[in-house]
């Protein structure tokens, strides 16, 4: 049976059922990252609040999905455990918005930088992104094809 799996803040969901859809609502400065193996047709989505667990190791141990560096890494590990091939994984990201004209509240920028640093470190690339700006976003991952859709202000677009 097909299901819609909802990812909360500092949360991750994955699925091996091609009929499932994974969604996370209302990404502000948080970063939503989808990870998908197109051959095995399994994938996951993580909704990270903050860039790095360096300043809060205790929280990262309790919930690694709160942070981009630990959250994305843990998502990959779980998918590989389920049979995904690490070399096939496709990464896409959305979110990372920021408050208007502000530099201190730049969590969105830092979240995206943390993702790029992690991917660079592992010689992986980001396939597509819709990040930055001041708009909220909803992110969908369709497990049958790996299609990723971003919805914002009533409009949908494929990533």
């Amino acid at each position: 049976m097909s299901k819609t799996l909802v990812v909360g803040i500092s949360d991750m969901k994955l699925s091996t059922n091609p009929g499932d859809v994974i969604v996370t609502y209302s990404l502000g400065s948080c970063l939503g990252v989808t990870v998908y193996d197109p051959k095995a047709r399994i994938g996951g989505m993580v909704h990270c609040l903050l860039p790095s667990a360096v300043a809060a190791r205790e929280k990262a141990r309790a919930n690694p999905f709160m942070f981009v560096n630990t959250g994305v890494a843990m998502t990959v590990r779980r998918l590989v455990d389920l049979g995904a091939d690490k070399s096939r994984l496709v990464f896409k990201a959305a979110g990372g918005a920021n408050m208007r004209k502000d530099r201190i509240f730049d969590t969105g920028v830092r979240n995206f930088k943390a993702l790029m640093k992690l991917l660079d470190h592992n010689n992986r690339r980001l396939e597509a992104k819709d990040v930055g700006g001041t708009i909220p976003r909803t992110l969908f991952l369709y497990l049958d094809t790996g299609r990723v859709v971003v919805r914002s202000l009533g409009k949908e677009s494929d990533l």
């Binding site: 809060a56 920021n98 408050m99 004209k101």
Partner: protein
């Protein structure tokens, strides 16, 4: 009649906010009053909080102004008085979504609660000595959205044009198109209800604290708490993150990225214990 006058005239008819009143009322109808549960429902609901403070402050039950739910509940001695507050203070007025801001049921409640918790947590982390009503002020700060939503919906296209094409903040665009912001409208309605000035002041200026000619630590904390709630993303609507942050407040409070990260993480952890409440308030009887 200007748009502003039209909006103010329409809001004169509003008696109270749509709330989780059915849930609270069913508790009151039980054989034994569960005060702790009732307090929990009221404390996380902007409409019920405003209504409780309205009734208590208009009564002769207290000597001074009541600024928090706990103090107001302590002032109400009997369940009969509470029944009165529930049955007479809440208008039969419900909305299913905050249409203009594109907020689904329960999203407004989630956002309000996040602002309240973030403001309080910020005070704790910064070790700012502030009155306990910082939570109430945060909870009520966005209440004007419930009233302005219908008008924003009509003119949303023009408001968003000003935001994205002209570079205006969302509240600036509201003012330009409608003649009033949701912050000002919220404060005006709460003033009419007789809520104390320290609360209405925060509601009025929470988006632009520099507009207040004075220093108010609660206002500053709620301003940043509101920004944090938007960044966390709970209850984000069409207005998104299109608001401006006061650099004066950031400097005065000594906000850093690390402090923001710590507060955001703590708030998200605390919110996990409230999902049951949000779900209760999203049911058919408690649409927001």
């Amino acid at each position: 009649m200007s748009r502003r006058d039209e909006i103010l005239a329409a809001c004169e008819k509003v008696v109270a906010m749509p709330t989780c009143v059915h849930k609270a009322a069913s508790l009151l109808d039980g054989a034994e009053m569960d005060f702790a549960r009732l307090a929990r429902i009221i404390e996380y609901d902007p409409g019920l909080t405003a209504n409780l403070l309205k009734v208590v402050n208009a009564s002769s039950l207290t000597d001074g102004p009541m600024l928090t739910v706990r103090s107001a509940l302590n002032a109400l001695q009997s369940s009969e008085v509470l029944r009165f507050f529930i049955s007479t203070g809440v208008a039969p007025y419900y909305v299913h979504v905050i249409a203009g801001y594109d907020q689904a049921p329960s999203q407004f409640l989630q956002h309000s609660t996040t602002v309240a918790i973030a403001s309080r947590e910020l005070a704790r982390i910064l070790m700012v000595d502030v009155p306990g009503y910082v939570y109430t002020a945060g909870l009520l700060s966005g209440i004007g959205k419930l009233l302005l939503g219908a008008y924003v919906q009509v003119d949303l296209r023009e408001i968003l044009r000003l935001v994205f094409d002209e570079g205006m903040a969302f509240d600036g665009a509201e003012e330009a198109v409608l003649g009033i912001t949701h912050a000002e409208l919220g404060s005006i309605v709460l003033e009419r209800w007789g809520l104390p000035e320290p609360l209405t002041r925060v509601v009025r200026h929470h988006l632009r604290p520099d507009g207040y000619d004075g220093r108010d630590a609660v206002l500053d904390l709620v301003h940043v708490g509101n920004v944090l709630a938007k960044m966390i993303g709970l209850g984000l609507g069409a207005d998104g993150l299109n608001y401006e942050v006061s650099s004066r407040v950031v400097e005065q409070l000594g906000i850093t990225s690390q402090i923001l990260d710590t507060v955001a993480a703590n708030v998200v952890v605390e919110l996990r214990s409230l999902w049951d409440l949000f779900l209760e308030c999203a049911d058919d009887f408690c649409n927001l």
